[in-house]
Symmetry: C2
Subunit: 141 residues, 2 copies
């Protein structure tokens, strides 16, 4: 995702009626910059350098606030711990069983709309693939 200034981030939060505290700005900034779907622990470990008083509870609280305002989505492709994603565009997720990396890939959710059972209203769609990524396949040769 493109570079975001603190001013940009402040504006994004204000639009959602979320007060732009330092913690919220830094967590949102980190998620926009991240491309690896970080866990709570990874977010906390990265930001504790900037904000030495940061608490892990704040990371949890903030993520829930960001999720409620639809700026962040949870990625539950694995059952061990939740991962977080601030990419607004719909996309699919691929988890490599060897290196563990979670890839984004372009996915047109309209393709699967026709499969929604009749009479049901769908507000969220997730597509998860698992297997071996290209990089691991190349390394295994």
């Amino acid at each position: 995702m493109k570079e975001m200034t603190i001013k940009d981030l402040t504006e994004i939060l204000k639009e959602k009626n979320v007060k732009p505290s330092l913690q919220r700005l830094k967590i949102l900034e980190f998620l926009f910059k991240a491309n690896n779907h970080p866990t709570v622990d990874e977010i906390y470990s990265a930001l504790i350098k900037d904000i030495p008083t940061l608490s892990k509870t704040t990371v949890y609280n903030t993520l829930n606030v960001l999720i409620e305002s639809e700026l962040v989505k949870v990625v539950n492709i694995e059952n061990t711990e939740s991962r977080y994603d601030a990419i607004p565009e719909e996309h699919g997720h691929f988890k490599c069983r060897q290196c563990g990396k979670i890839y984004d890939f372009h996915f047109d959710m309209n393709l699967i709309d026709s499969q929604v059972p009749p009479g049901f209203i769908v507000s969220e769609k997730d597509v998860f693939f698992k297997g071996i990524c290209r990089e691991c396949l190349n390394n295994n040769i």
Copy 2:
């Protein structure tokens, strides 16, 4: 799923080189009969009546054995606890945000094969929808 005799179940386990103990037979039978993707707790609570000595650890152990032999799949549509599914056919899952029920629906996974990123090998595909089910929509009128 159609009725399964203990003899049928024994045969299924033997084919996978899994010894057909009472606990394994009963857990597999329960999963074949269930259509609601039960949790470990639900499996345990249901079977403790039949097998008073049953331990929750055995439920976990057995499920892992059944998963390794590909008789059972984990459904991680929610991050709170894992659910288990013994339906062998590929299908999608819909979770109702109101009543919490998890529905199966027919889904042709071939539809989405073209979206797999090139060079990646996919061994598992999951499609999760969330929203409001037909029953809840009717009740809300």
